[in-house]
Symmetry: C2
């Protein structure tokens, strides 16, 4: 009944060993992982089932992780993880949106006790998307003798460096992102509904390439035409493209949950000379940032190279310049660890992957030409091949 996983057992073992080592360093006996990307990283489990409580427990005293979710998800865990049957646990359906006050975290707490964790030091992901205030309150109530420590991002900081097998997925995701941009631009003509352009981009996202298929987004396509292109996270409307407009599009290529983001501004019609010049300034700064990437440099230094280039033309970017990417589940694929921003002294290492999100959203105009990349031994490798330039259609 087990299905083949995208990574071999040695890779999963290495990931788990790295996590356990860091747990030891921090004197954490039990790590309760609520974040879906971290659950996937350590067990292979891949299903959009985390809208009900779902937890992976890593115990220093226990070889394999334990997986706990709603009873009906068991079949997926049996097929889609390497875990032994006894490490796949469930809670009954009446714990879901219980109208009688049942908490699935009581079931999690019982398993922690079963494993000898009643008085343990327990790490939890305090800032995670799927660790609510109530989840924490319930666990603390159910394990009164345990000590809770914030272990948010413990796994994220390990998976920020991608293995060679993960980089294969990232490059494939990048190829899908390229194809999505191309498909969207191909569709853009005056009179075409925005939703029909977006639909074609979604088609490409899921169909992928003839060699490998794609997967669903951790968020959504961002698409804004005209004034809506001034916002960073717009979506399409039912309106038809006018004869001349500016379109902003951020696409997300996804391969086996590995996600690569890529954004471009497209001018339908003829750009003004001033806007063309503005786009060249944006690309020059993007390239300055990319050229500064190498192992040993800090995120802050990369941002500085970009900002200096931009400042020569009198512009300033208010938001961070980029974020690390990898395994993506809703609502976002950014890893919440390092940022390409002033003062972030994270040192770049080969295998780290970032989206250099060099968008400028100003009061009266915006431009968005970005580059996902991985850090190599000597510099950077782009994960996409769409030219770094304003697209004119």
């Amino acid at each position: 009944m087990k299905k083949p996983l995208p990574f071999d057992q040695a890779e999963f073992a290495a990931r788990l060993a790295a996590v356990k080592k860091e747990m030891s360093n921090r004197e954490i006996d039990f790590l309760l992982l609520s974040e879906p990307p971290n659950q996937n990283y350590l067990t292979g489990y891949d299903s959009l089932s985390f809208y009900t409580p779902q937890m992976v427990i890593v115990a220093l005293s226990h070889d394999e992780p334990l997986w706990i979710a709603r009873f009906m998800e068991r079949s997926q865990a049996m097929m889609g993880t390497y875990l032994a049957d006894e490490n796949i646990r469930t809670y009954p359906d009446e714990y879901v949106n219980s109208h009688t006050g049942l908490s699935a975290y009581d079931v999690v707490a019982d398993i922690v006790k079963e494993l000898g964790g009643e008085t343990a030091r327990i790490g939890v992901e305090m800032g995670g998307y799927y660790y609510s205030a109530r989840a924490h309150a319930d666990l603390v109530r159910a394990l009164p003798l345990a000590t809770f420590v914030d272990a948010d991002l413990l796994v994220n900081w390990i998976r920020i460096v991608k293995s060679p097998a993960e980089l294969v997925c990232m490059r494939q995701a990048g190829r899908i992102a390229d194809a999505m941009i191309k498909r969207g631009v191909d569709m853009m003509e005056p009179g075409v509904r925005e939703c029909d352009i977006a639909a074609a981009v979604y088609y490409q996202q899921i169909a992928g390439t003839p060699e490998f298929g794609g997967s669903y987004d951790s968020s959504c396509l961002f698409f804004g035409a005209g004034e809506r292109a001034l916002a960073p996270h717009p979506t399409w409307t039912d309106e038809r493209l006018p004869a001349s407009t500016t379109v902003y599009m951020e696409v997300h290529g996804v391969r086996l949950r590995y996600q690569v983001n890529l954004a471009r501004t497209i001018v339908v019609g003829k750009p003004s000379p001033a806007y063309q010049k503005f786009s060249e300034i944006a690309v020059e700064a993007l390239n300055a940032g990319l050229d500064s990437v190498r192992p040993g440099r800090t995120c802050s230094e990369v941002q500085a190279a970009y900002a200096q280039s931009l400042a020569r033309h009198g512009y300033k970017k208010e938001a961070r310049l980029g974020y690390p990417q990898g395994i993506g589940y809703p609502p976002a694929s950014a890893e919440r660890t390092a940022s390409l921003r002033k003062g972030d002294n994270t040192v770049l290492q080969p295998g780290m992957c970032f989206h250099m999100m060099a968008a400028l959203w100003l009061e009266d105009k915006s431009i968005c030409i970005t580059q996902p990349f991985t850090v190599t031994e000597s510099g950077y490798e782009p994960l996409t091949s769409t030219p770094r330039a304003l697209i004119v259609k």
Copy 2:
């Protein structure tokens, strides 16, 4: 710069009045809403920006809600809500994944204080997807004189009853769901890659219909062929459909964020007589459940009608029979309030919308034929028109 909203101002005013009335009933002075559907319901704001802290504050002492998010989202709030400029607030970018310990919830707390809420009774959504354990800890620290109470689902229980204007969106979402099923089935042929079928379904989801476009999913298409159809939340692979197989597909039609779910089992090839019979039992039970729907009945009574029909054939459904739907944002559109399950004594009212998720996932086989519906004055109105039957392709 304001764009037209899908609902008129009177509708937003009525929603806000209902929420304030319930706040008064519970003696809640300030309601801090972290859930994106609740934020959309009260302000019209629609953007997938809630992966960074985002809050809507309703204060009994303040006419309009206040909206607070990352600085870059301001333009979307200016265009896409009815709120006055002074009620649109932001925090700077360095609060996002801060590496220096900054918390956006300090900014939220400052605004609460500015509005006179330093010692208020403050309602928060303890069980929400976007109210992390750390968010709560930060707010409690920043507002030490306030009293925090759990107001999770306060707004959800109000928006469970849809207005006539909302029902228009739900019916349109249902039409998109029908079109998605049709498009998927049309694509199913031996030798076609699963990802190419899924891509066509996604195309339809976003293109919508010739009259109105669609929007992105709150989760994803569920698609499982063969053994994978035994899991409730599978996704497609790169594999090609064999000459004969069973496919499970749950689609989500979305119109202006209103989501309608619909699922079918499709047999490619010829179903066995036993499986055909099994599907008829499932439909008979589904219809028994639907026929029992009317205002005044409870969720528990509807489930009982379904379960009795199923029991006559020796079957039992372990999971709840259904959940309410409406505005959907990742990771789910189910409203977390009522469930169609034994013991849930929620009384049905006209305008409530549910997905009767009458799937049976058994050890050796599964069948999934479902029906989204709204409660009417005298019974139910189906929100989709795909026939309630096993589909044979």
